[in-house]
Amino acid sequence: MRTSSRDFTLRRARTLDGALAVLRDDPGTVPLAGCTDVYVALQFGQRPGSRYLDLTPLKALRRITERDGNLVIGALATYTDLQRSRLVRSRLPMLVEASRLVGGMQIQNRGTVGGNLANGSPAGDTLPVFAAAEAQVVLQSTQGERRVPFTSFYTGYRASVRRPDELITAVEVPAVDARQWFRKVGTRAAQAISKVVFAGVRASTPRLALGSVGPTVVRLSRTERVLGSGGSLETAIDELKLEISPIDDLRSTADYRREVAANLVREFWARTA
């Protein structure tokens, strides 16, 4: 890679308490797991940090369980783990669909849910799913544990409420009792970063989320209100186009993204009717 590894240090976490102590004592430490973002950044000559903490020995954080009615996905669960999990398949099929489309199988075998959240790309494939499912992010530090609603987790482009001494340890997803739908639009079926990514839940007030149409993943609360109060689909689409703020970049144009976002909401509405 372009950056010499000699410029960096890597410690391997042995226990969760040990990892949290490292982050408390040296909050500049960058946690890593699947490395599918960190190592790409290093290859491009960027330096996400100079001191790294490898979380992969913390096997307990890879578990996917059910607790108090919630689906609890450990931060180290990989996209392959999500696809194989019976719990995820039965409770959150839109997350299985999202996981199938993250890169190729080599990336799915390494990339983790916690990494997708921590990286915080507006194009993160699982993020609209967690937004539409009203998930909570579990953060731990030596001070204790706190839960943040996913929809308040991001504060701006790649910025979140996570303090540097905190570790994302899990995502908790309450039961979703309505039809779910996910669709990613990219340049090809696999291994492409999305131009627009959508997840929706057809509850009595529907919950819709889009990625790659603003600085962070967004819940379409104004569009949801129109649909939930019996407004027409086209009125909702007009609202949607005002509600999102896509940009022109190397992957797509704002106009294209706005049109695709509208088409995705139309398709969601037809398929979950």
């Binding site: 391997r12 890593l32 490395c35 490898d54 080599q106 291994q191």
Partner: protein, 152 residues
């Protein structure tokens, strides 16, 4: 940092920086140059190796994460896996840079008893880019290898 793993069935132990890419350690320290570097950013799959049986791109794996793992590179297949033969008979390789990665990514499909559909083959190889063949010959090779491997 001292790192231990099993490489193509043989125990190995080496002293190296924990953040070096597994790709570089395999090629430079272990002398196994069958694993190729294509893009170096996880997009092309040329550097695919198996870690505990699962395909990964070795350009995105710090060697420290190979600690205690079973690694398989193309050299470990010894040249006589049915997929290696069918890649030749079906002309699934031209320049050859993507070939070791393709073989390792598709190996699990060939070895599993269940006959894969073409769609499944395409999905399994979605992370392996080939600029020469147009993929059709590679897909034929995978299906032919499966048929040979499981011939009654």
């Amino acid at each position: 940092m001292r790192t231990r793993f099993t490489l193509n069935g043989e125990p190995r132990e080496l002293e190296t920086h924990p953040m070096r890419r597994l790709l570089d350690v395999l090629r430079e320290d272990c002398g196994l140059t069958g694993t190729k570097e294509g893009c170096g950013e996880g997009e092309c799959g040329a550097c695919t190796v198996l870690v505990d049986g699962e395909p990964v791109v070795s350009c995105l794996v710090p060697v420290a994460q190979a600690e205690g793992c079973e690694l398989l590179t193309i050299e470990g297949l010894g040249g006589d896996h049915p997929l290696q033969r069918s890649m030749m008979t079906e002309v699934g390789a031209q320049c050859g840079i993507c070939t070791p990665g393709v073989v390792l990514a598709a190996k699990a499909l060939v070895d599993a008893p269940r006959k894969p559909t073409l769609a499944r083959v395409r999905e399994a190889l979605a992370g392996n880019l080939c600029r020469c063949t147009g993929y059709e010959a590679i897909h034929r090779a995978v299906l032919a290898a499966h048929a040979e491997r499981h011939a009654k």
